[in-house]
């Protein structure tokens, strides 16, 4: 019997051994996949991973993001429901083309789509970017095949983007949870929101680390040698400084300070720090790293027609270009010259912010502004003619008949509910060859810079004015707030700010704010500024007006076309509901 037992045992052993040994055999061959080691061990492959971060920077122009969808202040009236006028931010976020959340929920589920085509809004791209940055930082020890310089580049870019992506969300949502670890699916992810200023400090600290690690110009380092001359756009010390300056300015501004401390006025400490950061960039400009674009070539910052990417030494930070932008023409070409009509028209109240050529605002009795001759370009700020399209302007270069000239008068061809509702149009990113007759759009690229030197001057001016007064300056800078504003004005062939506005901090503040409106018009800054200054709820910033006039210009009448619904809750976008429902520590923004 014992013998039998033995045999039975033997048999089972054989079978079990067969099976257990075949677990090895069941393992899938892994040659086809890239392992973490493949990705993170050498500079080239690691950089390949980091480079997708640039792709996550939301480019306003991208695909079908239309003007009405990111210029939400008192600057624009779109032709169709955009959500912001009605105060319906859930609609804005959920609508298929919103630049804030995602753009195509259905295709979001497809990994190939998520990866191959970055066509998402700030919310989605930022979280993706933050995770990728954290993964990069975590895997830095795996990087063996790299020089010290290259190691610093990887680390610097990762810190820059981690800070930047948090910041990009904070501008719209406030204090988002700050994620600085790589979560695994089984980790507890219930991290609480920090206070607004604490979160700002986290961002600033990331940016400062990036500042230490990143070079001023990739052209001047060994790693950039291979792509010398083509390194513009890569993360630099200037980029980190510029985002930091913007971030500190926001932190100093009444909204952020109000939410953080209850005091809806400027925070002078943050003003000083913002002025310091701005001053550091201005010093870089003095060294020749950056330079204001001369007025003659001003448009080069915004568009080109020769199939080249807009570039300028003035631009500090912008999203990577994704090619021809012909599709965007629907936002600023009209039905008969363009491809589509989803027009967004400048509002008259905003157009009035362009001063007279003598440097006085149009409301000023001494300015010489004639309400019955509002389209006169000769006596206005040159930026008026550059930015704004007025009745009778040429819109088609090659035609001689009346189709070539825009008709904005009441009853005119371009004064309809599907084109201009205000009597104005844009010119900033566009000229009269971008249409289906001249076909200038075939080689047309246009971009909206994220941060450029002119804004840095204005950041310096705004913060130095609050901290040290109009004629004060950051200690050691020897550069006053007034001088900073005048740098920007003089470039546009405008005189300096008139003497009578320079005595008082509050009066000068309004001129700085006006200068931002004019210089940065339609660069998606206005909604953020009105919120930052905590003025967006005030009636004068909620009325969108148009100008009624006849073909012969015998009368001009300002009319209210839309009134923006803006209450206290509209200072922040609502978080996606599915997110704040996940755990109680993450709270919905007040009012939503």
């Amino acid at each position: 019997m014992k013998k039998y037992l033995k045999s039975i045992w033997l048999l089972f052993t054989i079978i079990i051994l067969t099976i257990t040994s075949c677990t090895e055999y069941l393992d899938k061959t892994i040659e086809a996949d890239i392992t973490e080691k493949d990705v993170f061990s050498s500079f080239n492959t690691f950089q390949g991973y980091v480079e997708t971060l640039y792709d996550d920077v939301v480019e306003w122009v991208h695909l079908r993001h239309r003007f009405g969808e990111f210029n939400w202040g008192d600057d624009i009236i779109p032709t169709r429901k955009a959500g912001f006028i009605e105060g319906d931010y859930f609609y804005v976020m959920g609508s298929g083309m919103s630049p804030y959340y995602n753009t195509d929920a259905q295709r979001d589920n497809q990994p190939w789509y998520r990866n191959l085509v970055r066509r998402h809004g700030i919310w989605q791209n930022s979280w993706y970017g933050i995770r990728a940055a954290n993964i990069s930082l975590k895997n830095l020890p795996m990087l063996v095949d790299a020089t010290d310089e290259q190691r610093r580049l990887i680390e610097g870019q990762a810190y820059f983007f981690r800070g930047y992506f948090h910041w990009e969300m904070m501008k719209a949502w406030g204090a988002v949870p700050y994620v600085d670890t790589v979560f695994n699916a089984d980790d507890d992810m219930r991290i609480a929101q920090l206070g607004l200023h604490e979160t700002v400090e986290k961002v600033v600290s990331d940016l400062e680390r990036a500042e230490e690690l990143l070079p001023l110009d990739w052209d001047n380092i060994d790693t950039g040698e291979l792509t010398k001359g083509f390194n513009a756009g890569r993360a630099t010390r200037g980029m980190a400084l510029a985002v930091k300056a913007e971030c500190l300015m926001y932190a100093a501004s009444p909204l952020f300070n109000g939410v953080a401390t209850g005091n809806y006025n400027y925070n002078s400490q943050y003003c000083e720090r913002a002025a310091e950061a701005a001053w550091q960039i201005i010093q870089l400009a003095d060294q020749g790293v950056y330079q204001l674009e001369p007025w003659e070539t001003y448009s080069q910052m915004f568009f080109t027609k020769d199939n080249s990417i807009p570039r300028s030494k003035e631009i500090i930070f912008k999203a990577p270009n994704r090619g021809n932008t012909r599709y965007f023409s629907s936002s600023f070409t009209f039905g008969h010259v363009g491809t589509d009509n989803w027009y967004s028209a400048p509002s008259h109240n905003y157009v009035k912010r362009f001063e007279m050529a003598n440097g006085l605002p149009v409301e000023d009795p001494e300015s010489g502004y004639n309400p019955n001759d509002p389209f006169n370009k000769e006596n206005r700020d040159p930026r008026f003619a550059y930015n704004i399209l007025v009745d009778g302007d040429r819109i088609i270069k090659s035609l001689a008949d009346d189709r070539a000239f825009v008709q904005f008068y009441v009853g005119g061809r371009e004064r309809t509910s599907s084109s201009s509702r205000t009597g104005y149009g844009y010119r900033k990113y566009w000229d009269e060859t971008i249409n289906r007759f001249d076909r200038g759009w075939n080689n047309y690229f246009f971009e909206i810079p994220k941060l450029r030197l002119a804004e840095i001057y204005l950041i310096y001016a705004e913060c130095a004015n609050e901290a040290y007064g109009p004629n004060g300056s950051y200690p050691g800078a020897n550069f006053t707030a007034v001088e900073a504003v005048n740098m920007v004005r003089n470039r546009a062939l405008m005189p300096g700010v008139h003497q009578k506005f320079l005595q008082d901090k509050e009066v000068f503040r309004e001129r700085i704010r006006n200068e931002r409106a004019v210089e940065l018009a339609y660069e998606s800054k206005r909604w953020y500024d009105l919120r930052r200054w905590h003025v967006a709820h005030q009636p004068e910033y909620r009325k969108l007006t148009g100008l009624n006039f006849d073909k012969e210009h015998t009368y001009f009448e300002e009319v209210v076309v839309e009134t923006i619904l803006f209450s206290e809750k509209h200072y922040w976008l609502p978080f996606p509901v599915s997110q704040v429902n996940l755990y109680p520590e993450w709270k919905q923004n007040p009012g939503w």
Partner: protein
């Protein structure tokens, strides 16, 4: 998990030890089990309780099965019911089986042929000895993770010692199309299309003159009116024939079985190349003794498909090309330009093929000139096995080993020709001139395309122990090791399965039955520490009628059974490595200021190391009984199934901190519950007998957990059936402008009177996707079949019917959703116009895409319930004495009809095929001879 694995092995070993110990001092002797309960073969359900039923890797007496299983013996049913395929054979006969291979609504069950997962189409019915439908976890567990939706187990015939059989079977029949789509003729179409254009604010396209001339029908070249569904293209019938011969026999040492079959179907097309479908089956197996203790078998199967088709899709064209699109044929005698004439190829003697630059596919053209697509399929299966009798170790012990190779190859051999089409035009003097579009190109060569190959290798080893102790204790124990590999041309990875299984069956005094099964699966789709999955199940049965206290007056037999189990499955995880982060390289990321690029890398999957098996948790209760002098067999089951931990993409469960690329998680859950009922009533008289049977399933499905987030409560899928029609709730058609003004804004495009009006569910003043509701269930909730068999002397008559209720469909094919350039079906006749606004059954016509009307809504929903008389067959068996001189044992002739009748509210919709061959009724005569 590893511990569990070890514990399991330990307990198995202990079990073996106990068994071995028990052997000491036990005198063995076998006993026929339940020999006293015998009934004759039956039709719908086999209630032959002592018959041997094939279960995974073994057999069991039906009476000793503690599981919910059903058995079909084709050999018996083929005596009076000659179905042509396996689906027909089981449809409506098995409680719990819901159409095709769907058990309890779980979806496609695993089809196992001779121990290996295989295609049902690779076997023909005459080759089958037995079909076992394994419905519960306890019975299907041994087939591993793929058996998660139940198993349809097919055992093919084998030779029997000293029983020589030769039989022949021949059947010939015709397929009679049930219905064709009805489209409007050219003149009617043009009138209505004009109306559609006017509705869309456009001018009419067709003048009154053109419509008049078309209606007059004198000049079909200039005013074409093409009818596809007439005798011009289609025959009345399509022929089908089958021939099958079987040879089997052998002696004690070796047996053989051979089945040779041929199946042929002709074509419905009246023109052009002869299309046909031919299938040849060959199945042969031999069992032989190697030495006394070792028997072996070798099976070889070959299935060859030949599908010859023309190079065009007639039924698709017939349902899309409008009748006036082009002149189909142009009589050469009308053509003045002789040079042009000579450059064209005539069809049917004297015609040029008409067409336009858009319509270059003219059926006259491709049927006659277009070349062909011949599809070939080859299946080769090979099994080799050994049965090693190990009774020298201990009686009742045996080892079975099996190795199988399967190959499947398919390809298309085609000759693709192009041909010129001619477009006529007329000048002011009504002189016709022709434009030639395209060129004739008759390819002389044949091209092989769509080549596909897969191969499968599998191995199983089974250690089996069966014994009866002290007359009352019947014990059977099986231990299984299985693995297989599967490769295909398109797949990069070899897919592999492996599992261990065991079954333990104990019967005490034929009264108490305990059946325990378990499996350990190993999945390489899961993280290494999660790869082992342990699936246990248990079945208990009590033959209460065997108890002394049981009164057998009315109930002759009664078995109560209870089974339950948890099965792990990984089949729903379709990719590998989903448990860890996956990096993928992409094309070079184009760096922004130049063409220079660097290969970029992205993460395409966020890993979830905890990803685990999906589970099927189930329990069944039921009984089987014989009543009223064994005339009535009644069986009943109630089941409750949970598919839990379903693998799903976690879109709403995680914060976006994971970067929006969310991992797969085990989260969702579905519930299936219902009852199954089978009844057979059989009565015998002297010359006459009848059997009446029915089987039915009443069941419901419910989504019990789902990762979802919706803005409205009623949009949540949880609480609703798994398959359901979701859509807007239509509340009629807009009557007029004021009706539109007073209603919520419908955000699907401009609406006008005659468009569909939808209910604003959330009352927010707009109708959009947030107003979608669950409309109706899409799966039947009541389904089954009923059969009747009458025997009178040498005649027998069999009727089989099936029924279903509770399912709804959306009439959303191009036949029902007519807009733009779509072909107008007769459905549009009753469209909305101002005059017919009260009686219209179809929205106003639209000459462009109308996204308001043509979207899923209750307007298009229809009841899919049906009672169908599937088959009627009349048989005559020739008296045996008639042939005794001719070596013929018996001979039968029959006449049968399929899809004879249907009763349904929406019969027209259910029976209509659009864009493909029609559904058929089938009439056939057959002859069967046994030598």
């Amino acid at each position: 998990m590893k511990h569990m694995y070890k514990k399991y092995l330990l307990s198995l070993s202990l079990l073996c030890l106990i068994i071995s110990k028990t052997l000491l001092g036990i005198n063995t002797g076998t006993k026929e089990i339940n020999g006293d309960i015998t009934t004759k073969d039956s039709i719908t359900l086999n209630y032959n309780l002592d018959s041997i039923v094939h279960i995974p890797y073994g057999v069991v007496s039906k009476i000793n099965a503690a599981n919910d299983i059903s058995v079909i013996y084709p050999n018996n049913t083929l005596l009076f019911d000659n179905v042509s395929n396996g689906y027909e054979l089981i449809n409506g006969k098995v409680p719990g089986l819901i159409g095709n291979t769907n058990i309890r609504g779980l979806g496609g069950a695993l089809v196992v042929i001779d121990g290996i997962p295989r295609e049902l189409s690779s076997v023909n019915i005459q080759e089958i000895e037995q079909i076992t439908i394994l419905k519960d976890v306890n019975s299907s567990l041994l087939y591993g993770t793929r058996a998660d939706k139940g198993v349809i187990l097919i055992k093919t015939k084998r030779g029997k010692p000293n029983e020589k059989r030769i039989s022949g079977f021949f059947e010939a029949g015709i397929n009679d199309p049930i219905s064709y789509p009805t489209y409007l003729g050219s003149a009617d179409y043009m009138e209505l299309f004009n109306e559609a254009r006017v509705n869309n604010g456009l001018n009419p396209l067709y003048s009154e003159d053109v419509i008049g001339s078309t209606r007059a029908g004198t000049d079909r070249v200039r005013f074409p009116d093409m009818n596809y569904y007439g005798s011009e293209f289609l025959k009345e019938f399509k022929p089908t024939s089958r021939f099958i011969s079987e040879f089997s026999g052998g002696n004690r040492d070796a047996q053989y079985y051979l089945n040779l079959g041929w199946y042929h179907t002709g074509t419905l097309m009246n023109k052009g190349r002869d299309e046909s479908y031919n299938k040849i089956n060959l199945r042969s197996n031999i069992d032989f003794k190697i030495i006394d203790k070792i028997r072996a078998y070798v099976d070889v199967v070959g299935v060859f498909d030949f599908d010859n088709r023309v190079n065009g899709n007639f039924f698709s064209d017939a349902s899309t090309i409008r009748p006036n699109a082009y002149a189909p044929l142009i009589d050469s005698s009308l053509v003045a330009d002789k040079a042009l004439l000579s450059s064209g190829t005539f069809v049917e003697g004297k015609y040029l093929v008409g067409g336009t630059s858009i319509y270059r596919n003219n059926p006259y053209g491709y049927l006659n000139l277009g070349g062909y697509n011949n599809n070939y399929g080859i299946v080769v299966q090979f099994n080799n096995g050994y049965k090693i009798d190990m009774s020298s170790i201990t009686e009742g012990l045996s080892l079975n080993l099996n190795v199988s190779f399967d190959f499947y190859n398919r390809f298309t051999a085609s000759q693709t020709n192009t041909y010129a089409v001619f477009q006529p035009s007329w000048n002011d003097d009504n002189q016709m001139s022709l434009t030639k579009i395209g060129e004739d190109f008759f390819s002389g060569s044949q091209e092989i395309r769509n080549s596909y190959l897969n191969r499968k290798f599998s191995f199983s080893g089974l250690l089996d122990y069966q014994k009866v102790f002290r007359n009352d204790h019947a014990l059977s124990l099986s231990l299984l090791a299985y693995y297989d590999t599967f490769n295909e041309t398109s797949g990069f990875y070899t897919s592999k399965h492996a599992h261990l299984g065991n079954r333990f069956n104990y019967v005490y005094k034929n009264k108490y039955i305990v059946d325990f099964s378990s499996a350990i699966s190993y999945s390489n789709k899961l993280a290494p520490e999660n790869r082992l999955g342990f699936s246990p199940s248990v079945g208990l049965a009590w033959v209460i009628s065997e108890e002394d206290f049981f009164n057998k007056t009315f109930i002759n037999f009664l078995k109560l059974r209870l089974s339950g189990g948890i099965m792990n499955t990984d089949v729903t995880i379709t990719d590998y490595y989903r448990y860890e982060d996956i990096f993928e390289q992409q094309w070079g990321y184009s760096w922004y200021d130049s063409g220079r690029s660097n290969q970029s890398t992205v993460v395409s999957n966020a890993g979830n190391p905890n990803l685990f098996y999906e589970k099927r948790k189930e329990y069944n209760v039921g009984f089987e009984s014989l009543l009223f002098n064994k005339e009535v067999f009644l069986e009943f089951s109630a089941f409750h199934e949970l598919r839990s931990d379903r693998v799903t993409s976690s879109n709403n469960r995680y914060p976006n901190y994971l970067g929006g690329i969310n991992p797969l998680i085990n989260y969702a859950e579905n519930k299936f519950s219902g009852i199954e009922l089978g009844v057979t009533w059989r009565k015998n008289f002297t010359d006459f007998s009848y059997e009446l049977g029915t089987s039915m399933t009443i069941y419901q499905t419910e989504i019990t957990k789902r990762d979802e987030y919706w803005p409205e409560e009623y949009l949540y899928r949880v609480g609703n059936p798994i398959n359901a029609n979701w859509g807007l709730e239509a509340i009629g058609l807009f009557e007029d402008e004021s009706d539109i003004q007073n209603h919520a804004i419908q955000e699907f495009g401009e609406v006008q009177p005659g468009d569909i009006k939808y209910k604003d569910q959330n009352k927010d003043g707009v109708v959009n996707d947030n107003d979608i509701v669950m409309l109706e269930n899409a799966s039947s909730t009541f389904i089954g079949g009923a059969s009747l068999l009458l025997n009178y002397k040498n005649f027998s008559l069999y009727v089989h019917s099936t029924f279903r209720d509770g399912s709804y469909r959306m009439a959303n094919s191009a036949y029902y959703w007519v807009y733009g350039d779509r072909k107008y079906s007769e459905i549009v006749k009753n469209r909305w116009t101002e005059q017919t606004s009260k009686t219209a059954t179809y929205p106003r016509l639209s000459s462009e895409y109308n996204s308001n009307n043509f979207r899923n809504s209750s307007y298009w929903i229809y009841d899919n319930s049906l009672i169908s008389i599937d088959r009627i067959q009349l048989n005559y068996n020739f008296p045996k004495q008639l042939f005794s001189k001719f070596f013929i044992q018996n001979m039968q002739v029959y006449a049968r009809a399929s899809n004879v009748m249907a009763f349904a509210k929406n019969k027209d919709k259910i029976q209509l095929n659009v864009g493909s061959e029609p559904q058929y009724k089938f009439y056939a005569l057959g002859l069967k001879v046994n030598f």
